[in-house]
Amino acid sequence: MGEVMTAQGRSLPAEDTADLREIGFRSLDFSELALRVEDELGDELNFDAPGLRRIATVGDVLDFIEQLQSA
């Protein structure tokens, strides 16, 4: 997540409770992060669309990515 933010010239806040809208982490950034994870795993991920709606904070993103990796 930090790499995605850095590539956009921004930095990742330390707090997991940071609001994604406030830090400017947008849909494109989230999508890029998902593709990075895919590339890392070398496998196509199956994204659960209803679950995505609950992602509002940095912690939500990290939890979601962790779930994807363990799925």
Binding site: A7, L28, S31, E32, R36, D39, L52
Partner: protein
């Protein structure tokens, strides 16, 4: 089957033809054994393809010529069922399943098959000979795969015009074609943008050693970056790009060194010798005097266009060029042009990747220009960010070691 007709004047019969290092002429090329008609002649070298073409031109037989690798078993069966004898590189002949009367003077081409299985398009030597005005003496490079439209364009020019020599490049010679071309004094060459990029990437100095006066690009979308690179290497050459296909023939020819064609060329008044170009939605539509048999009227090309000021850019295939990123649409061709405009990029392919939230994201593969030092994906993202909307910036970029090139000289960008 032989000695009956002569379909067009073989003015170039004494033009030089260089094959496998030997200097011959069309007239002194080896003769193939008596060819049946209709025949599908499958070749494994350029010399046999030229010999088959000359046989067709002299005797007016019905001919399809293609490389052996392009015609799989299923297609061979289909050809047999359509009345074609199959002639293999070793001369073995499989007789047709259907016996029918030949179509005198008919030449068949296979489409590239980029939208499915290759289709057969009927032409004649006359409909394939689109260059009819007198040409300055030239020696042409022939790197194209036998039987493709671009191959027919070059060979008919050589066979029907005076002083238009040919230097045939076989697939195994592609890596070193500039050396061969320089050795035989090639002054004109036609190739895809990928072909030219390969040549610059491999050895720009060797390329600069070829005394080129005419450079032609076609077969793929032609971007400004490759035109500019060629102009830098060959400041005095005429650089042209051509839009041509088996279906519509050579329909757009641009000599001004710019990508795309002038918007004023759209919807011009009909003229017997000039194709009518138009746009429906985003699709290029052409009504061409050089069309294949039975393709009279407007042909929907399946190629996508974008307007750029007073130019019309052909950006790619309709079904793959437009990438929808969360409802915002971007042309893969336009993104590719931006990437290839970066001095550190020798080649790029842009495509859609499935992604959460936005549906699709723009991704790219890139071959860096080794002579300019390393570049990173961050460099390219930065470059694109200042030239494209955020949804058009490729966020995932993979670096490749070499430029991919298929038998057709294309890389399917």
């Amino acid at each position: 089957m032989t000695g009956r007709r002569r379909t067009t004047a073989l003015i170039g019969d004494d033009n030089t033809v260089v094959v496998a290092g030997k200097r011959l002429t069309w007239r002194t090329l080896h003769k193939l054994p008596q060819l049946p008609s209709p025949a599908a002649v499958l070749v494994d070298n350029g010399a046999d393809a030229l010999a088959a073409l000359r046989h067709h031109a002299v005797h007016g037989t019905e001919l399809l010529v293609a490389t052996e690798s392009r015609v799989d078993e299923r297609m061979r069966e289909e050809l047999g069922e359509s009345g074609f004898a199959i002639v293999l590189p070793d001369g073995a002949v499989t007789l047709p399943r259907l016996k029918r009367v030949e179509e005198s003077g008919r030449a068949w081409l296979l489409t590239s098959g980029s939208t499915g299985r290759p289709k057969r398009i009927g032409h004649t030597l006359e409909s394939l000979t689109t260059v009819t005005a007198d040409q300055p003496p030239r020696t042409w490079l022939l790197p194209y795969s036998p039987g493709t439209y671009a191959w027919w364009q070059v060979v008919t020019l050589s066979l029907t015009q005076a002083d238009q020599g040919l230097v045939v490049i076989e697939p195994h010679e592609l890596d070193e074609w500039p050396k061969i071309a320089a050795e035989h004094g090639v002054t004109a060459a036609s190739g895809t943008p990928t072909f030219w990029r390969q040549a610059i990437y491999r050895d720009a100095d060797a390329l600069a050693g070829v005394p080129l006066e005419q450079i032609t690009l076609g077969g793929e979308p032609v971007d400004q970056a490759i035109l500019d690179q060629l102009r830098e290497i060959f400041p005095a050459a005429r650089i042209s790009w051509i839009y041509a296909s088996s279906e519509v023939g050579a329909s757009i020819v641009v000599h001004d060194g710019k990508a795309g064609f002038p918007r004023s060329w759209l919807d011009r008044d009909p003229h017997p010798e000039r194709p009518v170009l138009s746009v429906e939605g985003d699709e290029l539509v052409i009504r061409s005097p050089h069309h294949g048999a039975g393709l009279i009227g407007p042909i929907h090309t399946g190629d996508r266009i974008e307007y750029d000021g007073d130019r019309v850019l052909i950006t790619g295939r309709l079904d793959t060029d437009e990438i929808n990123v969360g409802g915002s649409k971007v042309s893969a061709g336009v993104v590719r042009n931006v990437l290839m405009g970066h001095p550190g990029v020798s080649w790029a392919r842009v495509f859609a990747r499935k992604a959460p939230l936005v549906g699709r994201m723009v991704a790219a593969e890139v071959v860096p220009n080794r002579s300019l030092g390393p570049i990173t994906d961050a460099d390219l993202v930065q470059w694109c960010s200042t030239r494209l909307p955020d949804y058009g910036v490729p966020r995932r970029i993979k670096f490749l070691d070499q430029i991919p090139q298929k038998e057709t000289l294309k890389s399917d960008v």
